[in-house]
Symmetry: D2
Subunit: 362 residues, 4 copies
């Protein structure tokens, strides 16, 4: 039952790395929304492998087919099923993983939970699963843009020890997409590229941080006390492969601030109070306050590395693993559309939930 996300804008993903394909069912998308496969493909192409020298060489077109829920160019209110076939499946390339647990991968834990394991390319734990999230996120993006003008944009703000300098108020999609690293600070992007290339040559890998902003979010989204907006964002982000942490607004930096430094003063705005700073990250008490949402997601260095590693096999005997197959030495550039997708899905759900609250006249 863990493959469903959201309550009103609800998605269910399915599929493994080397099975019949990958897909998603979106249930709850409002009717009459213009939607074509091109909307999905635009985001899928950003997630696609083989985009540049710093990502995996696995080459898949990942063409999305909308199987249901769209008629004459608009959504009908019925579930939207999306299918992406697996085209570059080389199961043979993974035979050597049949009997071994890769360190810091999900091989052992899937076996512990299910007593069986699809060892081809990680099976369900493969990052190919995120195709479904990105396709569904593209539907959410179209809904939020059309209905509310909400925009979600993420970028790589840090790789290993390389920091970037990005203005979250003004950064644009074009700036993010200008470099394969998806870091919109050109100097940092160059250094990141160099570092990622070096890591790959050394059989090593790097982690980093994706920062995400959501603009034009109206005040009032979020459902206390458990379904706070930041709580659902945190769940979405920690459900992404390789993510290890989440913080919002001041985040972990709040720890070393005092209340006087941290509180966001209110001043009169055009249609209500606005804050002169945004250490809250756009949420107060679990509900959006009209300021930009601003949060970070930490990703660990890719677990798949080509250097030999000590591990155990499925008979609990020590062995040495030498990874083959294709992988990203740094997941960050391709994590950007994943972070956006989970943010879009969370916002679409809460935006619809808001519609079910604001139903009585003032």
């Amino acid at each position: 039952m863990g493959s469903t996300f959201g309550s009103l804008f609800r998605i269910s993903t399915w599929g493994e790395s080397h099975g019949g394909g990958i897909g998603v069912v979106v249930d709850g998308c409002p009717p009459r929304l213009p939607l074509t496969e091109q909307h999905l493909q635009a985001d899928l192409d950003r997630r696609r492998p083989g985009q540049s020298s710093i990502t995996t060489q696995r080459s898949e077109a990942d063409n999305a087919e909308i199987l249901s829920g769209v008629f004459e160019g608009v959504t009908t209110g019925s579930p939207i099923a999306v299918l992406v076939r697996n085209s570059d499946a080389e199961p043979g390339a993974y035979e050597h993983l049949r009997d071994v647990y890769r360190p810091s991968h999900a091989d052992y834990t899937y076996e512990a939970r299910y007593g069986v394991r699809d060892w081809r390319g990680g099976g369900r734990s493969s990052a190919r699963e995120t195709i479904g999230r990105v396709a569904a996120g593209a539907v959410a993006r179209q809904l939020l843009q059309r209905a509310a003008g909400i925009e979600v944009l993420a970028w790589v703000s840090q790789v290993h020890t390389i920091f970037s300098n990005v203005d979250s108020d003004s950064v644009t999609l074009a700036q993010v997409e200008a470099d394969p690293t998806r870091c919109p600070d050109p100097d940092a992007a160059a250094a990141m590229t160099f570092a990622i290339d070096a890591a790959r040559r050394e059989g090593d890998s790097l982690g980093g941080i994706v920062t995400c902003v959501a603009r034009n979010v109206p005040a009032g989204l979020g459902d206390p006390v458990f379904d706070r907006l930041e709580a659902d964002l945190a769940k979405g982000m920690l459900s992404l492969p390789a993510s290890k942490g989440f913080d919002i607004g001041s985040g972990f930096a709040a720890v070393t601030m005092t209340g006087l430094e941290h509180n966001d003063p209110f001043v009169p705005g055009e249609s209500g109070p606005v804050t002169t700073s945004n250490r809250s990250g756009g949420v107060q008490g679990g509900i959006s306050n009209g300021a930009d949402l601003l949060f970070r997601v930490a990703f660990k260095p890719t677990a798949t590395i080509s250097s030999p590693q000590e591990t155990v096999d499925t008979s609990n005997r020590p062995t040495t693993l030498e990874a083959r197959g294709r992988h990203d030495p740094c997941v960050l550039p391709r994590a950007v559309p994943l972070v956006e997708s989970m943010a879009l899905l969370t916002l679409a759900d809460h935006w619809l939930r808001h519609k079910a609250v604001d139903v009585l006249p003032d």
Copy 2:
């Protein structure tokens, strides 16, 4: 609908700071579990205000009454309803907040969402709501201890710039409870006490970090792909008042590590593979791997401070707020049982979900 947490071990909290009381309904607790009000009170007393000079002086006994679901000393499988009356309610003390939005509080956002606001002591956004979580967490604690020997323990690991030195493998509840700060490093605890006292005297407040460990967690808990164990933990923690961030295992520190440094090597253990390090924090691919769960939660400095602050009133006019009422200058000591509660609730839910997976013979 946001007041429910969990799917099989499902809790619903209700109540405001100054209404008829605070409560929780636990639906899905297995039958035949020994349970008394003393089990609940033990944890509620740790959350209770007025425990020491560094917490709020609001004095409430917060005595829990079990209204249903327990018969002859054991749970019956029916919903367990718990009620705590509000005894120290002074609504008059909050009259001055009727028409003003406190900075970095939920006053404005609740009004934006609901168009109405219970301004008495924060209403639903008051930390008194967490009484329901703690009471339910105590039920989960009893279940996990009895059925699986799982132990959850949290402590204050940092306040402002004061770090502590604590061994997460060996730290005990007694050590945590030995000091009102709930920091089990005595030197750090003394410095924290001094800093918190100073902040209060200055009309200011401090933030910090709570670290939490869960021991004896069997491998196999967690439900990919969205209900990963760390995703549900993240949601639980970010649903706590004043929390701004969550990370697990290496967390944000993973960012500056390489794959070779970060991967947890497997070696043969008694009944399967074990890791020689725990940068994974006890989860791989969203499922527990048998190692201790280890995570951190960042809390901001308390928003309520006694220094004057600029803000706006409900007519969108600038005003100056001088907080009265009683508050904690640092929420960290009382946040410890809250963090434990959300961890216990998450684990109880996933432990039951595991029972619905492991149903066919090998």
Copy 3:
């Protein structure tokens, strides 16, 4: 987890016949709805025991206390908790049931499921649990009346072999409440009273049918394909104690009709098509069509009868049961507010769900 009903207008009931009380938490009621305890009491008084000579003599005031979610006379959007204390509990009166399974009651099945049983007055399976449903239904009634003018009215249409003649288009609450049987056909009501009295004197009991109409339901409520409006109504009705069947519109009578006889012709109405007959019962394809909802619920004769019955004890030995305690010889009159409550809760949920669908401009 079975104690929750609804998705957006979501209720959770708790409580046993002889525990600390009975209650309900309503999560998802829109804010700014005028609500007082009198709204709840009006419906609770209709459910209350001891209303007349044909219902149980157990006498309880069943006064409802709203503990949360209402401030200054209106709902706040936070969960509404309602508590009714058990005041007439005589646990001693049920001692003789500790070791015996009453035929066609839930004693044995609760023991089979939970391995433990609260034998005091049926415990959780007692019809007192429905207090929570009725209290929540009263909130839903207030919402539907205020926001949409929807009206729900049920009555006893049959007891044993006594049929009534009632015009579902015009029958009023006053007519239903004019007689303790809640049958608005005076001749039938007199015959029913006589039959129920006779059954009680003979140590026997009677079943019957409750018919329910919902008026002013807008077209468009219902969520294909599983959450059809009639499917959720059916679930609600079959969740009531002693119910054995549900049908809508033509219902079981449709079986012996042909398509030509059964189809509801459309004719132009003021603002769209209307049907000239209502064999659909107000739903087509799972969605309301603007006609009145019209459905029936079958109730079995009360399982508790004072005549001796053969049964077995908890040691699986044969024994004879002679019921004591107080009970209704016919549940129908008191089932009327229960049927209304489940219809109100279903409609409130679907009305809110509709708000999350109709969000884009035409």
Copy 4:
């Protein structure tokens, strides 16, 4: 959000009559269950159109492809996605329905709810949607058979005024499948065939009743108070196209019985109490009691008839509809696998839920 059924054994269907196909995602099926496409096809072939002269002549092979969740012949615990392509789609055949509302169909209500309508063959409201249910039901059947020996069998017990005489204790699948009517009483089957043929020739249609039994259901399935076993069965059955009523055990016949006639006496059985009659239909207090589940579902006469009918068009003007296209003059024979599917899905869900209750030692 209405396209999901079940909580632990959770299915989501998608697809329209004339879109890219029909499918289902099953999330929560336990791992290590042997499963092939043949398991699904066996049930799909029973639902398939064109099986005999009394069903629609639309001819589709309806071959199911399992896209995920199965590896090396067993389920993996990951979502099982099933796809059936639409092969006989003739959208042109439905052009004449673009602007007209068919009486007692879902055309108008879908438009009322969604403001848009896929008019090709009923779109989402087409009975082709039930392919997903049947495929998922086949997975549930395999689970219940393997894990618990539970068997579910349905048959046509009545068509129009033709009753059958069937012993629910002994009837077999072979007997049901022996005749295209799926009525295992040969005399009644012959009369039904004659009546259905006559109705078709007259441009008319017939309704009827499907009866269903579930055998070897252990005592203890069902989750009071809302998720009673009969409540979830009722919901499942009323979610089927053309269903108008549901009753269990004595059902509507209970109305004219007295308590003394109706109660099921307990006698000692081998491992606990058993009942000597089964007017309860296998459930007491919402929980299975170990006796066979026995319930009925009423279906209306097919709404599509070839006789001319008065109706209105989408501009609210009167018009005459003459149905073309292919349809069943009586849905009953093909409704049998649908009823079984919803019963299997309900039982699989509750069987898994039971596993999450019975977790503590006695």
